[in-house]
Amino acid sequence: MNAIIKVEQLQAFYILEILGKRKTVKAVNEVNLDIPENEIYGIAGESGCGKTTLLKALFAFIEPPLQICTGKVNYSLNGKFVNALSLNGKERRELRWTYISYIPQGSMSVFNPVKKMKVIYLDFLESHLQGKANRELLTLARQHLEELGLSPQILNAYPHQLSGGMRQRVAIALSTLLKPRIILADEPTTALDVVAQRAVLQLMRDIQHELKNTIVLVTHDMGIHANITTRMAIMYAGRIVEEASTQDIFSRPLHPYTQYLIQSLPRIGDKTTRSSVPGSPPSLIDPPPGCPFHPRCVQVLDLCTREMPQLQDDETNHKVACWLRSDQNVRHP
């Protein structure tokens, strides 16, 4: 399995100054991740776990108060790995939308409300494909929409005339116009209802199938992960706590947090009582010492309150960061 992005020891923090006091939000805290080619890769985690920041880092979109303290985000370009964070502004801009594209959360409000979709598309295409006439670009846009099963009539509408689901699909279509190798999607279906969501996920699956690229899908909804991702990572308090194929995560969750997450999901046809994870997600400004999950963990050991467990592979390409599974602490899972 080839990696298309390699993240090494990444630490991305928000440094805030309020009334002279400095606060550091440790949004991404020592993350190591290999994102494979030709797959839909999921990152699961709740609000405030750092997943949006991780996506921004993957997209090399670092603006104050966000800062990269250490680490690399390596893109696979022409057979070599290049640290995207070391590239200058111009080089990053060239890569955006052609190599890697980003669909932000709430992308439905990303369109200029007083411009028709046609104009938005043309603006986008013109800035990346110089030297072509408008007519040619429009034909390209129409073809692209048809390929994805969307009606080219959309181009004549204003954003507010389209429903939420439709706008989201158009946003996705726009991000794939230049056939990027990686697409980063941040909670693409959060504000949508179930049927619109299904249409959006369908579209993403079709795109991945067609372009054979990688889609990194970030969402807290485990149902979506089960449905379209092939491999996924679970994020908690700025760290990756478990990483494996989607099948493995659901059939054999190893980290207590993952176990809780999967167990607590209600299913139709099943009225047995479910419970939530006790406690609440930790603050990223002041995370607990040792393993960040330990205050809420039922199986907590003394070691957990002092030292942070590292991600370890259990020989089946299933990584987990937990003292219960670590071979330094001999226990049978």
Binding site: I18, L19, K23
Partner: protein
């Protein structure tokens, strides 16, 4: 006081506050003036600044320094009356129109828009011409207030319209609050920065308008204000005659006053802004 300390960290507030304090001392000083500014020829005319007359004397035979203290005091009175009265009207109209909606809204906004469309300058000049003798400080203030509320009423209304849609409006209603309680407890705290910044804007505007009216000779020229002082200085050709102290005084004082108001307004508005207040709650 913790609040003052926090505010002083902003240099704009520090500058504005100090300048306003200075001007305030001048205003207080005006009550101790040894001269009566209505009377002319109390001191030798057109003398340059000296030990006995800090800012020299003017062509009317008055001490410029004491004239200045009265000028600031009176200009501020006009501006403050204009500012506060127009706020009251703007708040009443804005809140009622925004919350009630429907026909009430349309009527109130119709009146407000009507006032906005009137060519302000022409009407002010007309009215001032007709009422010249009656334009005491208070009346000038009221006149300016009458023309100063329309724009801000609409701004406040927009705020109220958006606040009406927020979920805490419903929570408040479900907690048994009536419309008045709702508006005072829920909406006021969130609209205060808007009201405050428009207040300061209006004060600054009133000061400017007063000067304009004075230069056109449309106010009672016997009452010393920043505008009338300037007007007299121009009439007596003080610039051409080299009596720089007389004409520079109102100009410099006006600039200082406006800069002070600006700094004060910007920093306090930012401090009162709900988003900043919310951030401060978390920072403790």
């Amino acid at each position: 006081m913790g609040i003052l300390k926090d505010l002083f960290k902003d240099y704009r507030f520090a500058v504005g506050f100090i300048l306003l304090c200075l001007l305030f001392f001048l205003v207080i000083a005006s009550f101790f003036s040894p001269y009566d500014l209505i009377k002319w020829l109390q001191v030798p005319r057109d003398k340059a600044p000296s030990r006995s007359h800090l800012l020299g004397t003017n062509s009317k035979g008055q001490d410029v320094f004491w004239e200045a203290t009265f000028a600031i005091r009176n200009s501020l009175i006009i501006a403050l009356i204009s500012g506060f009265i127009s706020r009251i009207i703007a708040i009443l109209v804005g809140f009622v129109a925004g919350y009630k909606g429907g026909i009430t809204d349309r009527i109130l906004m119709g009146i407000s828009d009507g006032l906005l469309v009137i060519p302000l300058f022409l009407v002010l000049v007309l009215v001032a011409m007709l009422l010249r003798e009656a334009l005491t400080l208070v009346n000038t203030g009221l006149l300016l207030a009458f023309f100063g509320w329309a724009w801000d009423a609409r701004t406040i209304r927009s705020q109220v319209l958006s606040l009406r849609e927020r979920e805490f409006t419903q929570t408040s209603l479900l907690s048994g609050n009536g419309t008045l309680s709702l508006v005072i407890k829920e909406y006021f705290p969130l609209t205060i920065p808007l009201i405050f910044s428009t207040l300061i804007n209006n004060i600054a505007w009133a000061i400017g308008m007063e000067i304009v009216l004075a230069i056109l000779g449309l106010v009672r020229l016997d009452i010393p204000t920043l505008g009338t002082t300037l007007q007299w200085a121009i009439t007596y050709q003080s610039m051409l005659l080299g009596h720089w102290w007389w004409i520079l005084t109102p100009v410099v004082l006006t600039i200082v006053l406006l800069v002070a108001l600006y700094g004060f307004s910007v920093s306090v508005s930012e401090y009162l802004d709900p988003r900043m207040r919310i951030q401060r709650i978390g920072a403790k």
